[in-house]
């Protein structure tokens, strides 16, 4: 297991490097390249501009620039935010936790209700719930979260006043867990609803399929209960495949979190990316993007590790 874990973790490093190359190439898009991006701060004093040019080596050839940029990133210097007048890394890091809360909450909602609904509809033999599930899951997967989120926020928050009208906590109050959860509920449910739709369908289909297998039908004929068979045989296999699906969905989850954060004014990384792009605060844009990607890669590695724990066959592949 340990060697598997080590291989998986080390294998992520080249991916991170490749992503950094891609992001650096992205910086070349604006007319002036990184110079435009990092030195284009009109409020910069001559000394600040000079500092930027030295730091990023903007007068050197491209590959040297990349190495200089990479060196800085590794050492923790992710640039200086134009609009907030402080290191970009500080700006970005304080938002990371908030995004984790949101994605964690959404994952929880998705897993609990998704798996729950999937199992429940598989356990029954009646047609109606299954048809209802199909319909709901198609709709659930097609509804754009910025729409459902906006309607939920505007109707339940603004019109009825049942839920907070956005943000992560009551303004000016000290942090408290119940307050946080109250603010987290709506965005997590909205974001998680897409996954409830997807995974309930997936789990249901997977369970149904296993239930059709010969050995299960034999056991059924012998008088075993549907529920027991479901949990003992069908579920573990489906759970493992669900994990793979989850791993593939992670980038989409992070992207979905971005939109949900904007709708609910949740102070996370995604919303920071949007704001800093609109505000042309490019150092923060790059830092936020880098962190988002790192988040996805770390989550992928974690999923792989979990997969390895659950399915021994994988470790020796």
């Amino acid at each position: 297991m340990l060697s598997y874990a080590a291989r998986r973790t080390l294998g992520a490093v080249p991916r991170v490097l490749l992503v950094s190359v891609l992001l650096f190439l992205l910086l070349q898009l604006p007319a002036g390249g990184p110079a435009d991006v990092f030195a284009a701060d009109p409020t910069a004093s001559p000394e600040a501009i000079q500092r930027i040019e030295e730091l990023w080596g903007l007068n050197r050839p491209v590959h040297e620039q990349y190495l200089a940029w990479l060196g800085n990133m590794v050492q923790g210097d992710w640039g200086f935010s134009f609009s907030q007048r402080r290191p970009a890394r500080a700006v970005v890091m304080e938002r990371l936790g908030n995004t984790l809360w949101l994605t964690g909450g959404a994952l929880l909602v998705g897993l609990v209700f998704g798996v729950g609904l999937g199992v429940a509809t598989a356990a029954t033999r009646r047609r109606a719930p299954k048809a209802a599930l199909q319909l709901l899951s198609v709709v659930g997967m097609s509804v754009p979260t910025f729409w459902s989120g906006t309607l939920v926020l505007l109707y339940f928050g603004v019109h009825l006043g049942w839920i907070p009208s956005g943000g992560m906590g009551t303004i000016g109050e000290a942090f408290s867990l119940p307050d946080l959860l109250r603010h987290l509920a709506a965005p997590a449910i909205v974001l998680g609803s897409v996954y409830v739709a997807q995974w309930s369908r997936f789990v249901h289909a997977g369970l149904e399929e296993t239930m059709r297998e010969d050995y299960v039908r034999t056991a059924r004929a012998k008088g075993r209960h549907r529920w027991a068979l479901l949990m003992r045989h069908a579920f573990p296999n489906t759970a493992i495949t669900l994990l793979t699906v989850l791993g593939l969905e992670l980038p989409r989850l992070v992207a979905g979190a971005m939109v949900t954060e904007v709708v609910f004014a949740w102070p996370g990384l995604g919303r920071l990316l949007t704001e800093s792009l609109l505000g042309r605060d490019y150092p923060v844009v790059m830092a936020a993007l880098m962190l988002l990607v790192l988040l996805v890669i770390v989550a992928n590695v974690a999923t792989d590790l979990a997969y390895g724990l659950l399915d021994p066959r994988v470790r020796y592949g």
Binding site: P42, V158, G166, I171, A265
Partner: protein, 520 residues
């Protein structure tokens, strides 16, 4: 259930209910005022950011030498008295102001305020290496002497009548010399963690969400009655929500689009703050397309100002042709107007060489399309409406207008860098004009030297009528050249809760006397 059991259950329920009720009772809260602001400051270090809302926030933390009261009279703030010729504060020839400073003012870190701070502030504002957008009257100061810690002597080369006005509004906040001297002002943490002499100290700044300030008990004007002020950043939608839920005591600078909504709110009143401000389209006179006066005049003829004032502004204001609003004593009535006239606009554009060769309803010249970008600040409903209406109107005269939206804090630096063609926004002027718009920022790149000299002479002209004449002449020149495109006066609308007492906006701002506020 047996009787004793039932009583037991009932008793437990009652007890639980009591405990829950007690727990739900909020602890004795601090008295706090919540203020809504549509824009967030980029920095709390004064003088670097032109946004009025930044200035409003800084009023709580910093002090100016003087303030203006509701009648337009000056009041001493950091000084013991207002200098006049009678009390010897102003020299007979108007070139020297002797400021007698208070000796009981402390900075938030406990250090005493003195004349060195005044001189240091002047040096910062006029430092050519610092990206200060508007230096105003301070540039005319030749020296500030500090014979003793509580006396500052401000010397001008010529008679100056605008100093008191400038030192009581806009770029007037005093900076702490002991804290900032020798530091890099654009990067110092002071930007986010300032110390001033004002009635409130900054406690917390959550970017994108709010600023929280606490009362300063050692404030020279008396300790504030409020314990805390929270400034929440909220665009149109969020502000409406907060007002509807009664979560705010004051909403600053609501847009014209929100006027009807605010007027119908129970428990709130819409009050206009005194200001000489107006909405306009900045024109970058320096660009290839817009340096041609015919194109500028065509754009003016192509804009139906009445349509906009009637619909977006609800008829609350009338179209404006001069670059000073009618509320200002130096407003010129007789400037050249450009009535909405599509044919006149078309003729002008044809004359300038812009014709529609290929029938795509966009004019071209030498193969280049007549494409003009309009810069706009995002997040406010009425700004977006005006800009889109203008875009549609100008497409009727063959101009392809493209809209670019950015956030409020990026607006001044983008303008300063000349990175725009047209920009929509508002600007204000002091009671005693300092012409920061023309002599300071000059984002419009207006380079008529003789006209600008006319303005420069104004602050040293003692006779009011002569000043008025010069200012009006300038307005006529600008209108003739169509160097700017004014739209309508901008009423500064604030929404005040019935709970808030002490709110008295003046030309110094809306929050200048926040230390006197109470919230019921």
């Amino acid at each position: 259930m047996h009787l004793p059991a039932r009583r037991f259950v009932f008793g437990t329920l009652l007890a639980t209910l009591a405990v829950l009720t007690l727990a739900a009772t909020p602890a004795l809260a601090q008295t706090r005022a919540t203020v809504l602001s549509p824009q967030e400051p980029a920095t709390l270090l004064p003088h670097f950011d032109l946004l009025t809302l930044t200035h409003e926030t800084q009023q709580l933390i910093f002090d100016c030498l003087f303030v203006v009261d509701q009648d337009g009279d000056y009041l001493p703030n950091l000084t013991t008295e207002v200098p006049t010729v009678q009390n010897g504060g102003i020299s007979a020839d108007g070139t020297t102001y002797t400021l007698r400073l208070r000796d009981d003012v402390l900075w938030h870190d406990g250090e005493p305020f003195d004349a060195e701070d005044v001189r240091y502030t002047w040096q910062v504002i006029t430092d050519p290496d610092l990206p200060i957008p508007a230096r105003g009257v301070w540039e005319d100061v030749v020296a500030i002497d500090t014979p003793d810690p509580h006396t500052a002597v401000v010397r001008f080369e010529e008679t100056n009548v605008a100093f008191l006005g400038a030192a009581s509004a806009d770029a007037c906040f005093v900076l702490p010399e002991h804290r900032l001297a020798g530091r890099s002002l654009t990067e110092d943490p002071f930007n986010r963690d300032p110390i001033g002499t004002g009635a409130f100290t900054l406690q917390e700044w959550q970017s994108g969400a709010f600023l929280r300030l606490a009362a300063n008990p050692d404030h020279h004007g008396g300790a504030p009655a409020l314990d805390e002020i929270v400034i929440r950043f909220a665009g149109s939608q969020a502000a409406r929500t907060a007002l509807q839920r009664g979560e705010a005591d004051l909403a600053l600078h609501i847009g014209a689009a929100d006027l009807r909504f605010a007027q119908n709110l129970a428990g709130y009143e819409v009050r206009q703050a005194p200001d000489h401000a107006w909405w306009q389209f900045w024109i970058n006179n320096d660009g290839p397309i817009l340096s041609d006066v015919r194109v500028r005049r065509a754009l003016a003829h192509g804009l139906d100002k009445d349509l906009i004032t009637e619909t977006v502004f609800g008829g609350v204001v009338e179209p404006l042709d001069a670059i000073l609003p009618p509320s200002h004593w130096a407003h010129a009535e007789d400037v050249r107007a450009y009535p909405y006239d599509v044919e006149a606009a078309a003729t002008l554009l044809e004359e300038a060489g812009w014709t529609d060769e290929n029938g795509d309803s966009v004019r071209e010249k030498d193969g280049e399309p007549l494409r003009i970008e309009i810069l706009n600040i995002a997040g406010q409903a009425d700004r977006r409406q005006v800009v889109q209406i203008a875009q549609d109107l100008w497409s009727d005269i063959g101009v392809e207008a493209v809209i670019r939206e950015i956030d409020g804090a990026s607006f001044p630096p983008t303008m300063a860098a000349g990175d725009y063609q047209l920009a929509y926004g508002w600007f204000g002027e002091n009671q005693e004009p300092v012409f920061a718009l023309w002599l300071g920022t000059n984002w419009q790149n207006f380079d008529d030297a003789s006209a600008l000299d006319l303005l420069r002479g104004v602050s040293s002209t003692v006779d009011r009528e002569a000043r008025a004449d010069a200012i009006r002449e300038f307005q006529r020149t600008v209108a003739e050249e169509a160097a700017m495109l004014p739209l309508a006066p901008r009423p500064l609308l604030n929404v005040v809760s019935d709970r808030l007492e002490g709110y008295r906006p003046t030309l110094s701002g809306s929050l200048w006397n926040a230390h006197e506020w109470t919230v019921r």
